[in-house]
């Protein structure tokens, strides 16, 4: 490839960004995560902020994948309901709402493979609905929320079970650059919202952590720092308006 081809390669939210399921599958190849222990679901936040709801929706999608890895059927159903309830608050189209029943049916039958596909299809349909409703600015936030939650779960596990193989999975500078560029492209009013400012600032710091030379794995200290940053972001996203 020429330099120009490298620089002008297409990027697509739906395919350039790996799903949390893909991330978790790779973790299973390098370690032995106890998914049941790691599945501590977040509940939908009580807020009137649409950007916070969109970020939370992404967090819940990642939780859905986590519940699938834990093979926790009830957990998947509960998370699916949370996703659909939040999607309703964001006024997504009726077609998305039917996905909730599919998630529930697949969970009932322990069809984990179908659930992974259904979760991603639900997320993509929510995003499509957002675009159709001229809410396209929320799309990047769903992607950001899912990535933050997936990375928080992974970084926490890796900080407690460090190995270069596992830590190498956290080396994702191109993804962080993509997310930052998406947030930078938001309208000024949205970009200035306190939560978005916090997310942008922390993702900027994360970029420096995950940009290692020669594709080297992150050092243990960097993994710890990444985990702490991701925990604080997930807490900020899932903090309701009435909480202190």
């Amino acid at each position: 490839m020429t330099k120009a081809q490298v620089q002008s390669a297409a990027v697509s939210d739906a395919i350039t960004i790996p799903s949390p399921g893909e991330f978790f599958a790779a973790m299973g190849d390098h370690g032995q995560p106890n998914w049941t222990q790691m599945f501590v679901p977040k509940t939908a936040v009580s807020t009137s902020s649409r950007e916070q709801m969109a970020l939370m929706l992404g967090v819940l999608v990642a939780d859905g994948y986590l519940a699938v890895e834990a093979q926790d059927g009830q957990g998947v159903k509960n998370t699916g309901k949370e996703i659909i309830n939040l999607a309703k608050k964001l006024n997504v189209s009726q077609s998305v709402l039917g996905r909730g029943n599919s998630i529930s049916d697949f969970a009932e039958n322990n069809d984990w493979s179908a659930l992974r596909e259904e979760l991603e299809a639900t997320q993509n349909e929510v995003k499509l609905s957002m675009v159709e409703q001229k809410d396209k600015d929320l799309v990047i936030m769903v992607t950001v929320g899912a990535w933050i939650r997936g990375t928080q779960v992974a970084a926490e596990f890796i900080s407690k079970n460090y190995s270069p193989g596992l830590a190498g999975l956290l080396r994702q500078p191109a993804i962080v650059e993509y997310l930052l560029s998406g947030l930078d492209g938001l309208p000024e009013k949205l970009r200035g919202a306190a939560l978005i400012v916090d997310v942008r600032q922390k993702l900027g710091a994360v970029l420096a952590l995950v940009q290692t030379k020669d594709r080297a794995a992150l050092a243990p200290e960097a993994v710890n720092e990444l985990a702490a940053t991701m925990i604080s972001l997930v807490n900020a996203i899932s903090k309701g308006e009435k909480e202190p």
Binding site: M1, T2, K3, Q5, V6, S8, A9, A10, V11, S12, D13, A14, I15, T16, I17, P18, S19, G21, E22, F23, A25, A26, M27, G28, D29, H30, S113, R116, E117, E120, A121, N124, G165, G168, L169, L170, R171, Q172, P173, A174, I175, R215
Partner: protein, 140 residues
């Protein structure tokens, strides 16, 4: 991965053409090809990348892969009388020695990345002037 290629060539796609197919789109053909990998435990991503290919003008897509996972990138083009290819590159744009499958207007490339990070997928027309294409990928 090699066993899978033999299976694809010998039975999968060709046998599927015996029954009257529904109206095909590039995406349905790409999913048909990816479906053969699903039989081997690969999970197909819901997202896809689609566009138009012209002779001498390959298209490139950035993807992010994890070491430890195995990947197949499956693509198909329409009209069906064209010939296309799928090739993979590392983050610096150097070609990778991957598994490849090529059958006219359908093609796939498989990779087991040795490092996590950015990679590139190239889709190109080998024969024909212009074609719509769709690419999907699967992992395990």
């Amino acid at each position: 991965m090699k066993k899978l290629l033999v299976f694809l060539s010998a039975a999968g796609l060709l046998a599927a053409q015996d029954a009257p197919p529904p109206p095909a789109t590039a995406r349905s053909r790409a999913l048909e090809l990816a479906g053969a990998f699903a039989n081997d435990g690969y999970k197909i991503r819901d997202g896809f990348w689609a566009g138009t290919l012209e002779a001498g003008k390959p298209q490139f897509l950035q993807v992010n892969l994890f070491s430890g996972n195995e990947y197949w990138f499956s693509a198909a083009a329409l009209p069906p009388d064209v010939k296309m290819s799928v090739t993979l590159f590392d983050e610096n744009g150097r070609p990778l020695a991957e598994e490849v499958f090529q059958d006219g207007a359908a093609a796939a490339a498989g990779l087991v990345p040795d490092a996590s990070g950015k990679y590139f997928v190239r889709v190109a027309l080998l024969a024909g002037d212009k074609a719509g294409f769709c690419l999907v990928y699967s992992y395990k």
